[in-house]
């Protein structure tokens, strides 16, 4: 058996023993739908807490996303099976904030920023989440995907 035949055998073995689940492939195929070409990407800069930090039982998790001209800070608290997000857009701007999640329809969970840029998103499902902030000036910011 030459090298190529051996490698083909290895490939075939794992394809049978541990194939990529169909649901994983389907989710990967569907992920292109989340593309937001005109939006600025705010990347995760800090991810703190989750256990020690915070008040009363200290279970809030704080995440900071940044892009060149904006910062999105969120605090995530558990709410049974859901998550509750308190956030802030800096510098503050009037915006519609929407949760992006595989199990949510477009516009499923939204909030308007308040004068100081604060927003509140209740009952966010656990899992991979990204926020899109549509500013009233016509621009948008998306946060990088994170697991909540």
């Amino acid at each position: 058996m030459n090298d190529d035949e051996l490698m083909a055998g290895v490939r075939a073995t794992f394809q049978i023993l541990d194939p990529v689940p169909a649901a994983v492939l389907a989710a990967a195929r569907a992920s292109i739908a989340w593309r937001a070409p005109a939006a600025r990407l705010a990347e995760l800069e800090h991810d703190r807490g989750g256990r020690a930090a915070g008040v009363r039982g200290g279970r809030a998790r704080t995440l900071t996303f940044t892009c060149p001209d904006a910062t999105v800070e969120i605090e995530v608290s558990p709410d049974g099976r859901f998550r509750e997000i308190h956030g802030r857009l800096v510098p503050s701007a009037a915006a519609l904030v929407e949760v992006r999640h595989r199990d949510l329809p477009p516009g499923g969970i939204t909030a308007r920023t308040e004068p100081a840029g604060m927003f509140w998103l209740p009952r966010v499902p656990a899992g991979l989440v990204s926020l899109i902030l549509r500013l009233d000036d016509g621009t948008s910011v998306v946060t990088s995907w994170i697991r909540l």
């Binding site: 490939r11 794992f14 394809q15 049978i16 541990d18 989710a27 992920s31 292109i32």
Partner: protein, 174 residues
């Protein structure tokens, strides 16, 4: 190992809105990404998360990816980082080379695989876990560059490592 790869072209076409090109990217690379996640000992749910996050990261980046030709390496590196992040959160020990841990396959599938795959499948079972995992990545990576990205090792150490594991496998195949 040196099969021609038009991943760069698929990335450019997907960027232009070609859904089929995206689907082909997913089909071509998901096997390697899944294997990378497994090489960190991730279970089904976590491995699925690592792979899904990797694709979502590509969607985030696809418009600004400067070198579409490097997309395959980028995917492998991203999958490694996401797997590492999840493995850390689960508190697993982390060696510099991924700690291979195979999932526990369903016995019926193992029997079926043995019957269908014969000698190579049986020989693989007798290899040390590390070699088995490395060979799996070797079999799926289009080139040494992707493999180096998947393992986080220099491209120059890929060839010798592959040769050693392949030789161990060859000795076990009658």
């Amino acid at each position: 190992m040196a099969r021609r790869d038009d991943t760069d072209e698929l990335v450019v076409r997907a960027r232009d809105g070609d859904g089929d090109a995206w689907a082909r990217l997913v089909e071509r690379h998901s096997g390697l990404l899944w294997s990378i996640a497994r090489s960190y000992g991730l279970n089904d749910a976590d491995a699925g998360d690592a792979v899904q996050t990797t694709w979502l990261r590509l969607v985030e980046r696809i418009d600004e990816l400067r070198e579409p030709a490097a997309a395959a390496c980028w995917l492998a590196t991203t999958a490694r980082h996401e797997s590492l992040r999840l493995a850390r959160r689960r508190g697993r020990a982390l060696p510099t080379v991924p700690a291979p841990r195979e999932p526990e396959p369903d016995p019926a599938r193992v029997v079926a695989a043995r019957e269908r795959l014969g000698m190579v499948g049986a020989a693989l079972e007798r290899l040390p876990l590390r070699c088995r995992t490395l060979l799996r990545l070797f079999a799926l990576a289009p080139s040494h560059a992707e493999l180096a990205a998947a393992l986080g090792i220099p491209v120059g150490s890929v060839g010798p490592t592959r040769a050693r594991c392949l030789e161990s496998l060859r000795r076990l195949v009658p």
